[in-house]
């Protein structure tokens, strides 16, 4: 069967969604897909573009991956633009001169920023804000300048203003209309927003019509306005709206709108039945949709139509909620009350900078639209009223009036009231029905629902609503969500932690008798051991704790596949003296151990038999080494780069700090292993952003990143706080770690733990920085107790004859395990394979221990 030749023009966010949906449909083999991508890289997340200025890289923003596209069987032509379409012969021609035949075309060419044609608009350092290349140009210009102006006070303009401010420029916004965000807000809302933004140091000039841009006296440019005023600045960013990129469609004679845009019908087809248009370039019903969600829907419709399925694009809701420079702004539906008979209710609090307005219909029963500035908490509820035509309460203003004391929110909309079709997440078009289906299909936690429906993984605006809904649905199914640790305890790790603290429980037996049943198991015993250790930090080999631990914790070493152990002494910050290095070499030689340098900047010695461990550690402890806790769920290493002491770029002493924090937190038992790293400057040689706790030196202090990890699912840490002095840094880490230890589930790494906290990173900031739970002092105190009671487990063990008894291989014989056999490879030992053992390959002689 001949494959349909499908050409996608434009690999932006919507083009990418199209490709992903096609692949997900399982029908992609029916098509021979070629992608023309004008930009030098595959699709990336334009919505998060501003995050580039807070440290995200082009890779972080990437959505399309070359390997993924290849796996899907698509051909990509990067850096290659389609310049014409010949509809009669069904071919396209590209900027490289290549001509390709097609059966179907998908136009996803997006839009370009509109630059008003004022004289001087094309001067150097006059820029736009749409692509990664634009950002690079902005960064370069900003580095040379002191001040910047954004032309355009709409949604994108304000985001651009934030970027300029983050780049350290004195920032102005110049808007033609009399208010900010003229499309979404009314005068009162615009004013509140303006005041708030001014408080943040951004100067706003409304009602300004730029006449021309000329050389400035004190800066690069001088902008001259119609009212005679002038403004001098070094950088100008145009953000005066977008225009659909319909030039290809125009030149091949497709229908386009009067003011631009490729005309499409409900099937997303253009006036040519072989050509679809989707995303920001498409004009549906006389409207352009400048948001991703409607574009994603068009992409899904186009895929469905290609496969002959029945699906239509019927418009989209343009309600938005966003945070502009920390100010919540939301706009829903008919925010300006254009519907005949519409009536408003407004609430204004100038002191706190809060403005809320709802627009209701003539009967007062239906919500038509709303505007929220300064406090957008009601967005989710209001949106559901508007979208689903739910009857308003008797006094609609109760929805926006503050609730002080008394009976709380009278009219808060219960999730139960939402119809099945109610859209919960607009980014990924997930309805209440989809979520219920996921739960019926076995999703039992918020995390499950998120990963199988993608809800709340876009802008995150719907996460509070989603959480409520998921909880409600689980409860209403009578599912008592089973988070029990195992058959012996009907509690989560967090609950057990609490019980241990509150009841002052000091042993597993006590815990089992009071709160559990049976004998325990390999799940609850190590969990209890970890909780007991993090609460009371008692010596882990103390009698009542023996038997709780995983073999690694019991023998304070990591068991390898043949039953021998590896030994990893602590090398704080990766700094080690030559003398200590020599000791490690001598020990390895004496006991014939395999040695390897670890990723955590330490040295791992493999192949130690159980009975050798105490002898090895006696030598190591004498030489000043301590246990590295490589065996425990606890702090592993604090990796560091060499820092300002040696490195010519370093701005602070990363090694010194690494050693200090490693020594502070060593031995802390936690739900999972914890890794740290410290870099001496933003070049980030220590890869701190891939750690649970990453610290990077800046000119003004330390930046703190949290909840990154490597391993199976790598994740970059989130920038948590910037330019901290050392005391504050340590305080935040104390609180963070203790909060994690107290509340995380068994084997939950910090990243998953944070994703499961309602409110995620913001919530963590509230708890740790703003101390919203009032727990700060307690967390610090508990950490101090752990720090103060630290003991090296190996030092204690070699001094304790009782504990040493455990390292005898046999209780009744003085022999060694004959099944442990080594052979040589690359001049070191390795375990013999079963075949080698069977063939009796000459083994390495049993080691002679002096």
């Amino acid at each position: 069967m001949n494959k349909t030749k499908l050409i996608l023009i434009g690999n932006g966010m919507v083009g990418h969604q199209f490709l992903a949906s096609l692949a997900e449909s399982g029908e992609a083999e029916r098509f021979e897909v070629t992608i023309f991508c004008e930009e030098p890289r595959l699709a990336y997340d334009r919505v998060q573009l501003s995050a580039y200025f807070s440290g995200k890289t082009a890779e972080d923003l990437a959505m399309g991956q070359p390997a993924q596209y290849a796996a899907w069987g698509y051909h990509v032509r990067l850096n290659e633009k389609v310049v014409s379409i010949d509809r009669d012969n069904q071919t396209v021609t590209s900027s490289t001169g290549a001509t390709l035949a097609y059966d179907q075309i998908i136009l996803a060419t997006g839009s370009f920023p509109f630059v008003p044609p004022v004289p001087g608009h094309d001067r150097e350092h006059c820029l736009v804000y749409r692509t990664i290349e634009d950002l690079e140009a902005i960064t370069a210009s900003a580095a040379k300048g002191r001040s910047g102006v954004v032309v355009g006070g709409g949604l994108l303009g304000l985001e651009a203003a934030k970027a300029l401010r983050d780049l350290g420029l004195e920032t102005h916004v110049v808007e033609f209309a009399p208010r900010l965000m003229a499309v979404q807000l009314d005068d009162a809302g615009g004013k509140v927003l303006r005041d708030k933004i001014a408080e943040l140091g951004v100067k706003v000039h409304t009602g300004k019509n730029t006449q021309q841009i000329v050389d400035g006296d004190n800066a690069v440019h001088r902008m001259e306005f119609a009212d005679g005023e002038v403004l001098e600045t070094d950088v100008i960013l145009f953000s005066a709206g977008i225009r659909p990129r319909d030039e290809l469609a125009r030149s091949c004679g497709l229908d386009v709108g009067e003011r631009g845009g490729i005309v499409i019908d409900n099937d997303c087809l253009t006036s040519d039945k072989n050509i679809f248009a989707i995303g920001e370039c498409a004009l549906w019903n006389g409207r352009i949709f400048g948001l991703v969600a409607p574009g994603y829907n068009m992409a899904k419709v186009a895929v469905a139509r290609l496969l002959g399925e029945d699906k239509q694009f019927l418009g989209a809701d343009m309600s938005t909620k966003l945070k502009l420079m920390g100010v919540d702004v939301a706009s829903i539906g008919d925010a300006h009350g254009h519907t005949p008979g519409a009536r408003n209710y407004t609430y204004l609090d100038e002191a706190c900078g809060i403005y809320k307005k709802i627009v209701v219909n003539e009967s007062g029963k239906q919500l038509l639209g709303a505007i929220l500035v300064g406090d957008a908490e009601d967005y989710g509820t209001l949106l559901q009223y508007a979208l689903n035509g739910i009857d308003l309460p008797e006094f609609p203003d109760s929805l926006i009036l503050p609730q002080r004391g008394g009976d709380g929110k009278p009219a808060g909309l219960g999730v139960a009231a939402l119809p099945e079709t109610a859209q919960i997440c607009s980014c990924h078009d997930v309805s209440k029905g989809d979520i219920c289906q996921a739960i019926d299909g076995g999703a039992a936690t918020l995390g499950d629902v998120k990963s199988c429906t993608k809800a709340a993984t876009g802008c995150g605006g719907c996460s509070a609503l989603l959480t409520n809904l998921v909880n409600h649905e689980l409860e209403s199914r009578g599912v008592e969500v089973n988070r029990n640790l195992c058959e012996h305890f009907d509690f989560t790790r967090q609950e057990l932690y609490h019980l241990v603290r509150v009841d002052q429980i000091k042993s597993f037996d006590e815990l089992l008798h009071k709160h559990g049943r049976g004998k325990g198991c390999e799940i609850c015993k190590p969990t209890a051991a970890s909780i007991l250790a993090s609460c009371w930090n008692e010596f882990v080999l103390k009698k009542p704790h023996v038997g709780l631990q995983d073999t690694n914790d019991t023998f304070l070493a990591n068991m390898q596949k043949d039953g021998t152990y590896s030994v990893v002494p602590r090398v704080a910050g990766g700094e080690i003296t030559p003398d200590k290095l020599i000791v490690l070499g001598q020990v390895a030689k004496q006991f014939n151990l395999y040695t390897k340098v670890t990723g955590g900047q330490r040295i791992d010695l493999f192949g130690a038999r159980l009975e050798e461990l105490p002898q090895i550690w006696r030598i190591l402890v004498d030489a000043g080494f301590e246990t590295g806790h490589a065996y425990g769920k606890s702090l592993r290493t604090v990796k560091s780069c060499v820092g300002s002491t040696w490195c010519r770029y370093g701005v602070d002493d990363s090694v010194g700090l690494a050693i200090e924090v490693e020594n502070r937190y060593k031995g802390l038992r936690s739900p999972h292993k914890i890794k740290f790293a410290v870099s001496g400057c933003t070049r980030e040689c220590a890869e701190a952003q891939s750690k649970d706790v990453g610290i990077i030196a800046t000119e003004n202090g330390w930046n703190l990143y949290l909840c990154g990890n490597g391993g199976m699912k790598p994740r970059h840490g989130d920038l948590f706080a910037t330019d901290l002095d050392k005391d504050t840094l340590i305080k935040y880490i104390d609180r963070f770690l203790m909060f994690y230890v107290k509340t995380a589930d068994r084997l939950q790494r910090t990243s998953v733990w944070m994703d499961n906290l309602e409110g995620g990173l913001d919530y963590l900031r509230q708890v740790i920085i703003e101390d919203s739970l009032g727990l700060g002092a307690e967390l610090e105190e508990q950490m101090l107790q752990v720090v103060g009671t630290y003991e090296c487990e190996w030092k204690k063990t070699i001094e304790d004859p009782e504990a040493l008894k455990r390292f005898r291989p046999f209780v009744n014989a003085d022999a060694t395990d004959s099944n442990v056999v080594f052979v040589m490879e690359r001049d070191q030992i390795r375990p013999a394979t079963a075949a080698e053992k069977a063939a009796n390959t000459p083994a390495v002689p049993v080691k002679m221990v002096s």
Binding site: G518, C524, G563, R808
Partner: protein, 114 residues
Amino acid sequence: MTTNTKLISLCSKADLVPNSGVCALVDGRQVALFYLPEDEQVYAIDNHDPFGQANVLSRGIVGSIADVPVVASPLYKQRFSLVDGQCFEDEAVKLATWQVTLLDDVLMIDPTPR
């Protein structure tokens, strides 16, 4: 069934670790011994983990499934009944067990596996 004459002494009670395991050599075979004081019981099963092919079971964690005492291998976590050596993850795998008794403070074993 068994007569006491077959039993030989292995070690003292003090050599055992409550709620955990130790290992003994019996006729050249490694036997894992688990002492559960609550049941006043000692169990003896093969120390060899057939999955990981290493002699490690005495270093596993002791627990229970329903009311059956078990040990979990420290290598890949399969669980074996201490009573009859049956593996819970793989029906086809059953380890040798030995009969042991505490006579006063001495642990006696029948050196022939069951």
